[in-house]
Structures are given as C-alpha cells and as structure tokens.
Symmetry: C2
Subunit: 409 residues, 2 copies
C-alpha cells in the first residue's frame, strides 16, 4: 500500500512502476518513475547521478541486481510513510511534465513473430507461394530497422513520399504513400550488454532485457512492396517508429508470463531452455478513438527470449538501449489483427468507423493509439500505457512537381 | 610542400589528410590526422575540445564550412615552416599509436549498388529468376545493418555459429558457418545531420557526407541463404563489419570524381541533378598476402549521392556518424569481383593461392586486407589505407554439442 493518493484501480500502482524520461518548464530531461498520475523524479529522490541523465541508458547498463535494488528502494519510498517528507517534493503531476524518448536507441531490430500476421502478410504479398516461408518455424525472422527515426509517442508522423509501383503499372511512380499502415507491436529494451562472441540462451533473457514498451512500426505498404525484394523492408519502414514513453520493467510482468503456443517442429536447442517468456498482454488499437482491434500478445509464436538468443547466436553483441520488437501482434480472429493491411485485407474489405467513414489505410489527420495491459497480482491489471501518433500530410518534395504531376492533385 | 619529412610518393601527403582516432600508452583516444607515416594530434595542435573526444562525431556535426576550415588550417600548419615548432610536438609516429573505430556509428545502411555484383549474386541465390530484380535499376536497393558490431580494421573476426540449411538438407542444422565470405565495399560517413522530413537531393551530398572509408562486410553465405527470405539478411551479416581507421574527406577526392555508368532507364528526378559523384577508386583485395581481386569502384551503377537522396526521400533523418556502404564492389571482369562467392562462383570454381591451396570461402586463420587508392592532383595517388581482419575459429556455443554432434569434428 502506498501512502500516496493514487486513483482507485490505477494500472500504474506499486506493482508496475515503469521508467521514463521527463522534463518540466524548469528542468532538463531526467529519469522518472510513474506512480498513479504522478512522476517520481529519481534524480531528486535517489542519490545516483545516472538519473539526472536525459536517457535511461546509464541505468540500463548497471544490470539486473541494480535494477532490482532501485525497484525495491522506490517501492520502499512510496510505501513507508517515514519517507513521505523526502519524497513528496520529488513528485510531479503527469500533466505538468513533458515525456521524451526514454532511451537512446542502439540497434533496432524488428522481428516477425506472430504466425497469424506472417501468414496473413504472406498470403497478400506472395500470393503465389505458401504463406509461411520454409524457415519461419525454425527461427524467429528479424531484420534491422532505423534507430535514428525511433520517436516517442505523440510525435506526429508525416506521410512519407517515395517510389512505388503497383503490379499493373508499367513503371514506378513517385509521391505520397497511398497505403500507410500501422503495426501494433511490443518492444523489448536491452539493459545489460554483452561482449563479442557471447551468445545468450533464452534463460539469460531477464539478465539482459530490462523491460517492455509498446511500438507502432508505421509502414508504407506500397513503398515496401516495391522495394523489399531481395534485401528486405527499408524506406517502407524507416520514416518513423513510435514507442511508448514508459518502459515497464520485466519485474512487473511476472504475472503475465505464460507458455507460448506449441512450437512444432521443435526448435534447435539454442532456442530452448528456461521457463518460457510468452507474455499475456492485451493490446488495443484505436483509430480516431474507435477500437479497431484487440491483438492478444499471448498468441505470439516466438518468445522475446528466443528472439534474443537468436539475435546473439552468431556472436553479435547487444548494448544498453538496443530495442527489439516483436513484429505485428495479430491473433487468430479478424478483430485481433494488428495492422490495417490485415484488418482491411489489403483494401478488399475496408473497416467502417462509427462516423460512417471507411478505412483501408490511414488518411491524413487520423490518430492511432495503441495501448496494452497485463495481469498483475490478485486479479489486478498493470498498464503499459500507450503509443500514439497522428498522420500529417506529405511534405512537398523539392523534386516532386517534376516527376509525377498528376499525383499532386 | 610540407616542411615535414614524408616518404617519397606517399599516398598520405598534403592532398589527402584523412581523419582517425588514436591513442598512445599515455593518452586516451582522440582525433588525429595522418600525414605520411605520422599522426598529427589535433587536440594538441588546434584549440577545439572536439578533437579531444574519442570519436569524430562532434567534429562531423560541425558541418562543411568547419571541415573546410580545419583542413585549410592543418594544411597551413604542415606547410608553413613558421608553425614547425608548434606542430612537431604534436606529431607521433604511426607505429607508436593504436587506432580505434573513428566514429560512433549511428545507423548503418548497406546498399547493393554494383550491377555486376547484384547480377552475379542473383544468378547464384535465385537461379530460377532474372538476375536483377525488377526494382534494381529504379532505385538503389539497401537495408539496415547492425551498427553495434562495426569494428575497426585489425579486429579479429570469429567465425559465426548459426542455423543453416542447404536445399538438399531435410531440416536445418546448427554449427559454424561453412561459407564465410568477404564483401569489399566503400563506406560513406555522414557528417551534418538533417531534421525530420528534410529529403536531400544528390546535389546536397557534399554538405552532409564528410568522407569515405573502406568496409569489409563479412558475410556468412549459408546462414544468409537460409534466413533472408522474406525480410533480408540478418545474422548472416550482423556478427562483424570492419572499417578502415582513416576517413578520407571528400575534399581529398575531387580528382576521383567521375560520371557513373549510363543509367537506363532514366532514374526518377529525386535521384538526379548536380555533378555526379561516381568515384574512380581502385580497390585491391588480398587473401593471405596474395591479390585475389582488383574491384574498380568507377563501375558502380548507383552513386553515393543517389544513395543518400534515396535514403532520405521518405523524410528519414541522417545523423553525424551514420555510415552507409556501397555494397560489394565488383567489376565486369572475373578478377574484379569483390566477394569470394563471386570469385569462386559459389564454390564451383575455387581460386588457387600461390602456396597451392585453394579457397572457395574463408578458412580459419585466413587474413583479408582490402585497400584502395584514388587519383590525386598531377598524376599522384592518394591512399584510403586498408581494412584488415583475420578469421578465428568458431567459439563453442553453450548449446552446441547438444544439437548437431557430427558437425563438431
């Protein structure tokens, strides 16, 4: 029980305590912990200059035992009435702070771990082949994304320009993306890094991964479809990737841990071992305020512990601040799909919003909010917060008017 | 003419002056400029604390006019005898310093800009289709690589373990890479960054790119072949990418500028304009001291200015320290191919070394050195130095012995 006034049933109580980076009109960005609708300024409350830094990276690098120690200490500060006098001056109402990107992103890797999503996309992008590629059930497929364009929730997303060619076009054209999409994902934030040639086992997950955030991997499907063979998605993804401002520590997700779906064929031994890290997170995708999907993370085929083991099996290092994301979370049901591409089946079956308008892909002005909750102790829920973004119209490209005038109208 | 004693015909004379990061037994890593076989300690010679940093990034962020100013100042210091007394104490023999990764890598993007390389690889990896994918001549294909495993020349490369499956295998196996390869490339180091939504034109290249280094994009072909469909190369590339320690400023490459091969079809306007940035660099690949290839950079289809324009056309930012590489440089002739995969045609036609041994791919203990020179003024040559690496045997994976015992022998 905290001595602090927190809203009844808050998903940000003592069992959550996520970390973020905030600033105020008076003070530069520094590390805070969310409790209810307030932020505890850790630089003020704890005697460690690492919390005065504008990113979590220094704290992330300190490792599991320090993470546990700080979590215990924050819990004590908020529980033991004796600390009230010390702590109260370090508390700020959430509506008085600005939230920033919580960590400086090292490498960003995006996986493709939902069997339902991969099957759906395979059916649409490669309709002449099996929906799942032959490697899919043997390894968690992933690729590197652009870390420099990872932005915090609330940052507007400008519709990208680019080159695209429909199969029926004779030649590629240029202009604003016409199939702008979301991908509702869960991100894993690496804390303690590794030395070169130190492959991690799935059982090492909690020693190296600090916590979890929500990710919207904005996707320009028309740009992606034209560019991605043979070396994978590039400009179709690199314009923006949004993350939620609060990183929920793994320690808060103990009650969300579940076994993933049965994996058959049995994965190679380097992808096995340890208690599994499936996670029973309930995601919700809202488009202009209307819930369009409820993707269940528990349906994901590959666990994040398997992703980490795979990512390092070749000796590659991880660093504090590396981010790897799950790939789109899509469940087996139609209203559990985590992208518009799947929800509208490539535009063949647009979704209808309460205002009577329909969507196959995003329109300028649309706002997407992805949120999630997880089971806490005793039937409570903890919150992962949300990742939000609004679409702004494409910018005029300096060369735009020269190349495809008919597309400007 | 410099007052300094430099070796006759040195490729590191006054017309080159590349930047690197060095340390000595007594002093921490800081920025230096190479002249002949010496290093000028810029932190000691110039009054700017940015040169006392352990990476070029701070200087890179200062932008083109400052880069030009420092180059002019260094030239003056090394030319005007009056500065000799000041400068001599700041000079160190190259063999007394240790060279480090010259810049902290932001995002690392690898392109695929050689028509000869892409055609060769296409013939081998996708023998049932056209060698070039339909998009290849419309855009410079690229993908993001792992920036956290970019290492400086001389760093040993441990043979990666991984999952691979030959088309004839029933199921994937696990173990050390059996088709370990090089890719001889040229890298471009971003200096001045951009704001979101600021697409660059090819003509903006020299305002944003500081200089050039050599890159060896080590590749595990068996791992890559099994994993890369549909999202591109991942673990087949992410274990190590080596770069040369000296970044040659664009200002030194004025005499190397050439037009690229004719581009047909005509690229879209956003990929055109400005004097072209083809580069007449002569690469050389040595395996255990023996020259196995001489790839001509002038044969590259896409210029680095076009790569930069493409990479930013969707509004994606670039940051100081971003690295983008050309992709394997392969010329039209057999002895101009920049990978062993191409030189040995996938192992069908191994190359023979002077000691009588043959190579299709790299063996443990092999050393690869990639070097390059470029035209300077008046028939001289300037050097890009070299990127070197030796292969160490694969490490035992903690799970190794459990999964594929026969492969351990």
């Amino acid at each position: 029980m905290t001595w602090l006034a927190v809203p009844e049933g808050t998903p940000f109580g003592l069992t959550n305590l996520p970390y973020g980076v905030f600033s105020t009109a008076d003070a530069a960005p520094r590390v805070g912990v969310r409790i209810g609708d307030q932020v505890l300024d850790l630089a003020a409350a704890l005697d460690d200059p690492v919390f005065a830094e504008p990113a979590l990276n220094g704290f992330l690098a300190q490792g599991r035992s320090r993470w546990d120690e700080v979590r215990a200490r924050v819990t004590e500060l908020l529980t033991d009435e004796r600390w009230r006098g010390t702590v109260e001056p370090a508390l700020l109402p959430l509506d008085r702070v600005r939230l920033h990107l919580p960590f400086a992103v090292g490498d960003y890797v995006d996986f493709y771990a939902s069997e339902h999503h991969a099957s759906n996309i395979g059916r649409m992008f490669r309709s002449d082949s099996e929906p799942l590629t032959p490697n899919w059930k043997h390894l968690p497929i992933g690729y590197h994304g652009r870390s420099g364009t990872v932005v915090v929730s609330g940052t507007p997303v400008v519709r990208p320009n680019g080159q695209r060619k429909a199969p029926t076009d004779a030649a590629p054209g240029f202009g604003p993306c016409r199939r702008l999409d979301i991908e509702a994902e869960v991100g894993f934030v690496v804390g303690a890094g590794t030395e070169p040639g130190q492959p991690l086992a799935p059982a090492d997950f909690a020693d190296h991964v600090f916590g979890v955030c929500l990710v919207n991997d904005w996707s320009a499907r028309d740009i992606q479809a034209w560019e991605y063979v043979p070396l994978g998605p590039f400009l179709g993804k690199s314009f923006a990737t949004s993350v939620s401002p609060w990183v929920v520590p793994l320690a808060a997700l103990e009650h969300a841990r579940v076994a993933p779906p049965v994996q058959a064929p049995q994965p190679l031994p380097y992808l096995t071992g340890g208690r599994p890290w499936g996670l029973d997170l309930d995601l919700e995708v809202r488009l202009n305020g209307h819930v369009v999907s409820r993707p269940p993370y528990a349906s994901m085929y590959w666990t994040p512990a398997q992703m980490l083991a795979h990512m390092t099996v070749n000796g590659a290092t991880v660093r504090p601040g590396d981010l790897f994301a799950s790939g789109t979370v899509s469940g087996p049901e139609k209203d559990q799909r985590g992208s518009l591409m799947e929800l509208s089946w490539g535009g063949q079956d647009p979704i209808t919003l309460p205002d009577g308008t329909t969507r196959s892909f995003l329109e300028d002005g649309d706002e997407v909010v992805i949120s999630a909750t997880a089971p806490g102790p005793d039937g409570t829920r903890i919150g992962l917060g949300e990742v939000a973004g609004r679409i702004l119209p494409a910018a005029d490209h300096p060369h735009f008017s020269q190349q495809d005038p008919k597309e400007q109208s």
